[in-house]
């Protein structure tokens, strides 16, 4: 194993930094003319509304703020820095730097969303064309990029389903959304937020796939729709997916395909062929827009022609010479997010697709498939690691493993291993969404931007750690050891007397900070 140690800067909380009187930046001064020809600021603020005491944020000079946040950035293990393939369902892929250059352009960064459309023809062209491309990729007929994340995309789909049934005067009767346990939790939570009752199909314990018989039993006149991920968080492609759709359709429901993780599907299989009415993609995953510490993101929502009237406004249209913002859509559900959404993700995705072309996209998909199956081969050779569900089945983008055997043998579980592998310079892996019906799970996704050597090395880390669990379990359980910090007290996080969401709360609950005050 390569020697590794994370940077340890031991930075204080910024609230303890600086010195009274210091400043990080100076503000434009007010011209003498303006100074004179206007009144005192307090004249423009109702008396009661004037702030009495300045906020207690720190006073710090610029070099120290820069130093602090540069250090904190180093203490963050971004995908660009590590073999980040342990983060299943996240598609931690290379985000090309050229796309970052493009989004920094003032022709994008300094555009106001309400500018006259004549002055935004460039970005409208990008949106319009990308819309056509993603329609081709999915087989849908129109997309909206307004949802600022996958979950908001799913919520949008739930709202579209709601609207559809409302227009058909089918509410409140059709008030049930069916999903599967291995579909992303948002496929349950978002329609629930929209007012639906959720019915969850459990996986068959042999195949790992949701049971079609269970589905048949679940549908009824209450069925509003199906919201389902495929492949689910097991990486197993549901080959009966079109049957699922058919059953829902026959029951009068709509089907929404969660394609957040579509990395293995480009050019291979589409929502359309499976019969779906709508789908969503996470542009910040398969389409290479970086994850940005959890956003900005985009859950692009696409629908069949019949449903386009319900899409959020505006939609970008093209009259053959100019692009327009179409706001005049009376049956639209309105707005899911302010303005047009996080179009920076679309700009990057457009550029990414243009760098790929149809063959490149197919190579993306094929390579993800090869990579995960190669990783499965490597991992299943490790004592203590088992692949959940049928061994012989191909996985498409990710795979769910279990460390139950390891745990039974050594008492070292998946949380311990996740915490230990960071000592080798890789990101903690994603265990799995709850509930853990696969015990002690973990869920890697070696997308196309990892090399064979990356995969070998990552598998080696797992092997090494499993071995260590047998020879030296305490090392694993007390991990991390080479990271920025040591193991934390997690109990405090759920105790109202201990948790602290702000420094002011912390001070109140604990008294003054225990750290020495050494600001450098």
């Amino acid at each position: 194993m390569r020697k590794y140690h994370a940077p340890v800067w031991n930075e204080p909380i910024i609230m303890e930094m600086g010195h009274k009187g210091e400043r990080g930046i100076a503000i434009p001064f007010i011209e003498e003319d303006i100074q004179k020809s206007t009144k005192d600021a307090k004249f423009y603020i109702p008396n009661k509304m004037i702030r009495k005491s300045p906020p207690n944020i720190p006073e710090i000079s610029q070099p120290h703020i820069l130093r602090h946040y540069l250090r904190l950035s180093q203490q963050t293990l971004g995908m660009a820095l590590n073999i980040d393939l342990g983060m299943g369902t996240c598609t931690m892929k290379h985000s090309p730097l050229i796309n970052e250059e493009l989004v920094k352009s003032p022709y994008f960064a300094e555009i106001h969303p309400l500018q006259d459309e004549n002055t935004t023809q460039g970005i409208l062209e990008i949106i319009y064309k990308f819309n056509r491309y993603i329609c081709e990729i999915s087989g849908m007929d129109e997309f909206t990029f307004q949802p600022g994340g996958g979950a908001l995309g799913i919520f949008t789909n739930a709202c579209l389903i709601r609207k559809y049934h409302e227009m058909n005067n089918d509410l409140p009767e059709r008030n049930e959304i069916i999903t599967t346990l291995f579909s992303h939790p948002a496929d349950a939570a978002c329609p629930a937020t929209a007012g639906f009752k959720i019915i969850t199909l459990y996986p068959n314990s042999e195949t790992g796939l949701p049971d079609i018989e269970a589905l048949k039993a679940a549908v009824s006149k209450h069925t509003a729709g199906l919201m389902i991920t495929n492949p689910e968080d097991t990486g197993i492609f549901n080959p009966m997916i079109d049957e699922f759709v058919k059953i829902i359709h026959e029951a009068g429901g709509l089907c929404a395909y969660d394609q957040a993780n579509s990395n293995a599907l480009f050019g291979i299989t589409r929502a359309k062929e499976a019969g779906f009415d709508m789908c969503h993609f996470n542009i910040h995953k398969a389409f290479s827009s970086p994850h940005g510490c959890m956003g900005p993101a985009c859950g692009a929502v696409g629908v069949r022609k019949e449903l386009t009237e319900f899409l959020p406004v505006p939609i970008v249209t093209f009259d053959g010479s100019k692009y327009h913002l179409d706001n005049d859509r009376p049956n639209s559900i309105g707005k899911m997010r302010e303005f047009m959404g996080n179009i920076e993700t679309i700009l990057r995705a457009y550029s990414w697709i243009m760098s790929m072309g149809p063959d490149g996209l197919r190579t993306v998909a094929e390579t993800s498939i090869i990579n995960i199956n190669y990783l499965i081969k490597k991992l299943t050779k490790i004592r203590g690691v088992t692949l959940a569900y049928p061994k012989q089945n191909i996985r498409l983008d990710q795979a769910r493993f279990s460390l139950k055997e390891l745990k039974d043998e050594t008492s070292v579980g998946t949380d311990d291993v996740a915490r230990r592998i960071v000592d080798f310079g890789v990101q903690e892996y994603f265990t799995s969404h709850h509930p853990w019906i696969v015990q002690e799970p973990f869920l890697p996704e070696p997308c196309e931007t990892y090399s064979k050597e990356d995969i070998d090395y990552w598998a080696e880390i797992i092997r090494y750690t499993c071995e260590e669990a047998r020879t030296n379990p305490e090392t694993v359980k007390t991990a991390p050891h080479n990271q920025t910090i040591k193991k934390i007290n997690t109990k405090a996080l759920n105790d109202p007397n201990q948790w602290a969401l702000t420094w002011r709360a912390y001070i109140k609950k604990k008294g003054k900070s225990k750290q020495e005050h050494l600001s450098p």
């Binding site: 509304m49 997010r337 072309g357 709850h434």
Partner: protein
């Protein structure tokens, strides 16, 4: 090089043919088609995607995309007075440096140990927002102000099991539309009715009488904004709070945090849940992609239990240092799926980092000074515009950053005026004619610290011509 479909793509190491073949063999396949056959044929796309030929060369790609983008006119070439929920402020270079660090740009949901820097920055965001707001509990931001307001309203409704929210008419129609999508589940479960409250067309203040009339035992919460969508400063916060609380409802206040150097935070007049927009705090407009919404409350378990968003808490490490983790994670969809409080997901992590750096750069003096610069410059603009024959400005003197300009007496429409301005490389204010017909031919102008006297004078002179 000659044009041929390069099999090896720079982004895809294992696109090297020999490597692929070797790996395929390792997993027991002759070729990729064998694998794909495991997907039923009818589900497979039996043709190539119909997409443009690629531009694998980075130079060609950059040229292609840049040429499209350059069809835009940016607010650095044009003088911009559009605000209305996305505002042009100066983004300090240090903010850009940090927000563009590859580590931050490419990290995601990494945990306590590998992403400490991210966690600490998030906690610092919450902590500095807490000081601006004088509130002890602040969450990680959600998608935008609209979503933040929606979640706040739903939080209140879960807390007091009531199903009605009162919202002033002086609100952004976009934001209101979002709130409707979240609250109006129609005949499905969990519906929260929205009732609109009148405002005084002279002052922009909320009509207390109308509020009082509409408040009832059904009222779960009252949602107000300060400054309002039209820039007005609401001075009756304490009275609104009294009425709201007397009815057993929660007062939710939406704010623009860049006003907080001058304006008192809502907790001081009785705000229970505070939300708003972080975009002014060092985030580029990005064609509207720069927005993000925060939520804050008192640090009471009954509030904490209802947040749908992530809450970062500080905690101790076994060796006495600091660490961080999610507070009451079991609230969320990640733990309990549809039993979670609403939902969260990937939101605006990078903007959270930018906002943290921005607040640190400003400090208590900077936040006050920028408030001063904005209020003086915007009132200066309002003053000199109001002196133009044919122009009236509304809601003076109590507004911050944005104000309404009315063209009724000029006989021109906002449309005419904005077209004229555009020809002179000025983005005039947002037309609000359709959304606020009661205000006639009116337009919402935004003036921030970036508009100097020369800019304002240029606007006034061009407007003067426009309405001639």
């Amino acid at each position: 090089m000659t044009k041929k479909i390069e099999h090896t793509h720079p982004y895809i190491p294992n696109s090297v043919l020999e490597v692929r073949q070797e790996m395929l063999r390792d997993i027991g396949f002759e070729n990729i088609q064998e694998i794909l056959n495991t997907i039923p044929k009818k589900l497979r796309l039996n043709r190539s995607l119909n997409l443009p030929d690629p531009l694998p060369s980075e130079f060609d790609l950059k040229k292609h995309v840049s040429e499209i983008l350059s069809k835009n006119k940016s607010c650095t070439e044009y003088l911009n007075f559009l605000g209305a929920g996305c505002w042009q402020h100066h983004v300090p270079a240090v903010v850009d440096e940090i927000a563009h660090r590859s580590e931050f740009v490419t990290a995601y949901a990494g945990n306590t140990y590998s992403d400490l820097g991210k966690w600490q920055t998030f906690f610092e965001f919450q902590s500095m927002m807490g000081e601006l707001l004088e509130m002890d509990a602040v969450s990680l931001p959600t998608f935008d102000w609209g979503t933040a307001a929606s979640f706040a309203i739903r939080m209140a409704s879960r807390m007091n099991i009531k199903k009605e929210v009162l919202i002033p008419k002086i609100i952004s129609p976009g934001r209101l539309s979002i709130i409707k999508n979240f609250c109006n589940t129609g005949s499905l479960s969990g519906n929260i009715d929205i009732k609109l409250i009148d405002y005084d067309p002279e002052t922009g203040l909320i009509d207390l009488q109308d509020l009082e009339n509409k408040l009832s035992s059904n009222t779960s919460s009252v949602y107000i904004e300060n400054p309002s969508y039209l820039g007005t400063i609401e001075s009756q916060g304490d009275e609104i709070a009294r009425l709201t609380h007397n009815n057993g409802a929660e007062l939710i206040v939406g704010i623009d945090p860049i006003s907080l150097g001058l304006l008192t935070p809502p907790i001081n007049y009785g705000g229970d849940i505070v939300c708003g927009e972080i975009q002014p705090l060092g985030i580029h407009m990005n064609y509207g992609g720069g927005v993000g919404g925060f939520i804050a409350t008192r640090d009471e378990p009954r509030y904490i239990a209802e947040y749908p968003t992530h809450l970062v808490s500080i905690t101790d490490t076994i060796d006495g240092g600091f660490g961080f983790g999610y507070c009451t994670h079991d609230r969320t969809l990640y733990a309990v799926r549809e039993e979670g409080k609403d939902f969260t997901g990937t939101t605006v992590g990078l903007w959270t980092i930018a906002a943290a750096v921005y607040m640190a750069l400003l400090g208590p003096n900077g936040i006050k000074e920028i408030g001063h610069t904005i209020i003086k410059r915007s009132h200066y603009a309002e003053k000199i515009l109001s002196e133009i024959n044919g122009i009236e400005t509304l809601f003076s003197p109590y507004f911050f950053k944005e104000f309404v300009v009315n063209f009724d007496s000029s006989g021109k429409t906002v449309n005419d005026v904005n077209k004229f301005l555009l020809d002179h490389k000025i983005f005039g204010g947002k037309e609000i004619v359709k959304d606020f017909p009661e205000l006639g031919q009116s337009s919402l102008y935004c003036v921030t610290e970036i508009h100097n006297q020369e800019d304002i004078t240029r606007l006034a002179e061009t407007l003067n011509q426009a309405i001639k």
